[in-house]
């Protein structure tokens, strides 16, 4: 049987493509290499009961995959490290039905018009491939509005003075602010910043047959036990309930088959380990910005830019320890953010000039609290003080942080390719990441970090520090416990970006010599192959990529279906 489209990956991009294509009458097969812990494919109104408030399972035992022993990746800063410097977990977005949507805490901001036009707005930067996108905000706005309704986004229009125009209100009102965010928003405002309720894909009211979030506090890194989170469950439900979509989980796509002019289908290995070929008139690839180029390279596709311009947000983490308890284990992990560090104002221009750069841009700043107790315990030293520290809880219950998701400029040397020898358990070459930040990110981080320390001090912090991810050679971070607390540069592991925001690697554009796909995600060399994930991003902005990649996927699928 030949379906209209095979969709590789069931995350936000693939699920959205499935929804749009099945609505247009297409038959699709959605293929997911991970397990299905989300919904019953035969009765998609029945949602699985597998997610839970269980730190062991989600944060220490790879429940959502990928398991780094089965599907490792490799990492190096540059070719100077040799073939690789590290083998293991590198930027592991979940490998499961629902993909990265399942573990994210669901902040889904839109980009702003200038984010699509960095080159024409601010100009080039040396050693970076800054370029405009082949699509602009006005063209994408109707798709942003559509996918906000599909996912279910809670937000407050007008709360962010720097936001782009929007054609209508958010589908739901903002949810409950966390106590720490109430304090940090007031302190940030007093310092001239503009915090607002983060647009969040967690139901603030019952929505689309799913309940309102009950603030259980296990949001980032966890699947939602009550399915109140806008992981792509709604789009998968819609697609499957048409009867025109099939979902194959635990099935790995090893190759896109082509006849030289176009794709004819994919080779897959199912849970039984048997390899077979699925015929398809179109192939939609939504594996994420690491697995997507890996599949293209495993398929023997040869465009020289496949895998290039990998971007991952440069995180600047400003931490304060407060005298009072903030109970950040209640609520949605992050409820407030601000955009001020996205602005190229006079101060930012001056800091750029002093560093010999034409401009710098930071990124969205999240107001967030501490994590969960196992992780907290592992930060403290062992011995007689352990339990006192846990009871006092400086690093969990009294911690507040401003985390900036800094814009990471595209560089040709930052890339995904196939590791020459390391294999996954099925025997296929794994993705190798070669990545180091551009000087722009370091300068922007150093410029925007200190003012957040001042806000934390205004909140009453008794101790503050700034660290970054990735850490950079020479960086050292203070710890309240005397030793370096794991915060100093220790070689390649600490150089691996913690941000799960991966972008680039099959850049879109109009010129086939400088881009891999066109403005609708179609590969220049194989026009019936569409990339429907953040691989197509031209630049990284400083915002989480999910809503934008979903809007682009909806637009690409609509164009494909005609």
């Amino acid at each position: 049987m030949t379906v209209d489209a095979v969709i590789v990956g069931s995350g936000p991009g693939g699920a959205t493509a499935a929804d749009v294509l099945t609505r247009a009458g297409w038959t699709v097969t959605i293929i997911e290499k991970g397990r299905n812990h989300l919904l019953d494919p035969d009765n998609p109104s029945r949602l699985a009961q597998d997610y839970s408030n269980d730190e062991i399972k989600f944060m220490h035992r790879h429940f959502l995959g990928p398991d780094p022993l089965i599907e490792p990746r490799t990492f190096r800063l540059s070719e100077d490290d040799g073939e690789r410097a590290y083998v293991g977990a590198v930027n592991s977005i979940p490998s499961t039905v629902g993909g990265g949507g399942t573990h994210a805490d669901g902040k889904v901001p839109r980009l702003r018009p200038e984010d699509f036009r960095l080159h024409s707005t601010y100009g080039p930067v040396e050693d970076a491939a800054v370029a405009d996108w082949p699509v602009d905000y006005d063209e994408l706005e109707p798709y942003y509005a559509e996918v906000e309704r599909l996912i279910g986004v809670a937000g407050t229009a007008g709360a962010n003075p720097f936001a782009a125009w929007r054609s209508g209100p958010y589908p739901m009102p903002s949810g409950t602010p966390m106590y720490g965010a109430v304090l940090s928003s007031a302190a940030a405002e007093a310092r001239g910043l503009h915090p607002y309720a983060a647009p969040t894909a967690a139901n603030s009211i019952p929505y689309d047959g799913r309940p309102a979030c009950n603030n259980c506090g296990h949001c980032a890194y966890f699947g939602c036990p009550i399915h109140a989170k806008g992981d792509p469950v709604a789009m998968l439900q819609h697609a499957l309930s048409t009867g025109r979509a099939e979902l194959l989980s635990e099935t790995f796509v090893s190759r896109v088959r082509t006849n030289g002019r176009e794709a004819t289908g994919v080779d897959v290995i199912g849970p039984d380990g048997v390899e077979r070929t699925l015929g398809a008139r179109h192939v939609v690839i939504a594996g994420g910005a690491i697995e997507t180029p890996r599949l293209l390279l495993l398929s023997g596709l040869e465009h020289p830019l496949i895998g290039r311009y990998l971007m991952m947000h440069f995180q600047t983490i400003n931490v304060g320890i407060m005298p009072q308890r903030l109970h950040a284990h209640r609520g949605r992990s992050v409820t407030h953010v601000h955009d001020d560090c996205m602005l190229v104002d006079d101060d930012a221009r001056a800091a750029a000039r002093a560093a010999g750069l034409p401009w710098i841009r930071g990124g969205l700043v999240e107001h967030g609290g501490g994590g969960h107790p196992v992780m907290e315990a592992q930060f403290y030293p062992w011995g007689p003080h352990h339990k006192k520290l846990m009871a006092d809880s400086p690093l969990r219950d009294r911690l507040w942080a401003f985390i900036m998701q800094g814009e990471d400029l595209p560089q040709t040397t930052n890339r995904v390719d196939l590791d020459p020898t390391v294999r996954d358990a099925r025997g296929f070459a794994v993705a190798r990441i070669t990545f180091r930040p551009h000087r722009h990110e370091l300068v922007a981080s150093a410029h925007h970090g200190p003012r957040h320390i001042r806000v934390l001090e205004d909140m009453g912090a008794t101790w503050t520090t700034t660290t970054t991810s990735p850490l950079v050679p020479g960086a050292a971070t203070e710890s309240p416990f005397g030793d370096d607390g794991g915060g100093s540069y220790r070689g390649p592991v600490s150089a691996i970006p913690a941000s799960r925001h991966v972008m680039g690697t099959t850049r879109m554009g109009t010129d086939p010599t400088t881009s891999v796909v066109d403005a609708y995600g179609r590969m220049h060399e194989l026009p019936n192959v569409v990339i429907a994930d953040s691989s197509v991003f031209v630049t990284s902005a400083g915002y989480g990529p999910t809503l934008t990649l979903v809007a682009l996927a909806a637009r690409a699928a609509a164009a494909l279906a005609g």
Binding site: N53, L69, N215, E250, A377, A391, R423
Partner: protein, 186 residues
């Protein structure tokens, strides 16, 4: 009674755990059952389904079903991963696609032996000196002690949620959740 370690190893594990997370007014690692957590992890495949991932969506502690006590079945690839991690590759070709893997069972067997057969009889300072001398093993042990102490009780530690209560943490709260006031107010 340990299910995977032998009695001597279990005694050494208990003594070492109580140095890493000692009791004060409330339970330390041993009183919370951390050695059982670690022994249960090393022997995860002695029970069916293997005690790797507790089920969902709730534990029953705040209403709902006691889903945590129904552990997930593993797929063939899950089982391969967790056998590699726990048992090591053991020279088996299907586990050595990227070379040999040393499993936790070997790490514990060797690490506990390195602490010495007289470890339980030493005084606390001498025990700490041994633990510092076997730093690599102690780091693994401490990581697992923290999991057993502060993870869900269904994994064998944090007995009766004693460790959560000591830090005023409710743990898993589905389907109760938190009210808006509990989220937004001090």
């Amino acid at each position: 009674m340990p299910i995977w370690l032998n009695d001597d190893e279990f005694r050494t594990l208990s003594a070492a755990s109580s140095r890493l997370i000692p009791a004060d007014e409330t339970a330390g690692a041993v009183e919370a059952g951390v050695p059982d957590y670690i022994d249960g992890m090393l022997g995860a495949f002695l029970v069916d389904p293997p005690r790797i991932w507790a089920g969902g969506p709730s534990s029953g502690r705040f209403g709902g079903s006691a889903g945590f006590s129904r552990f997930h079945q593993l797929t063939a690839l899950d089982e391969l991963a967790w056998r590699m991690r726990i048992e090591g590759s053991l020279g088996l070709p299907d586990r050595e696609f990227n070379g040999p893997v040393i499993g936790w069972q070997q790490v514990y067997r060797d690490g506990l032996a390195a602490l010495g057969s007289d470890f339980c009889e030493l005084d606390g300072d001498d025990q700490d000196a041994r633990l510092r001398a076997t730093g690599e093993f102690t780091a693994v042990l401490y990581e697992h002690c923290c999991e057993g102490m502060y993870g869900a009780p269904e994994y064998g530690g944090n007995r009766d949620t004693v460790a959560w209560r000591a830090i005023n943490f409710l743990g898993d709260v589905q389907p109760r959740g938190f009210s808006d006031a509990e989220v937004s107010e001090p």
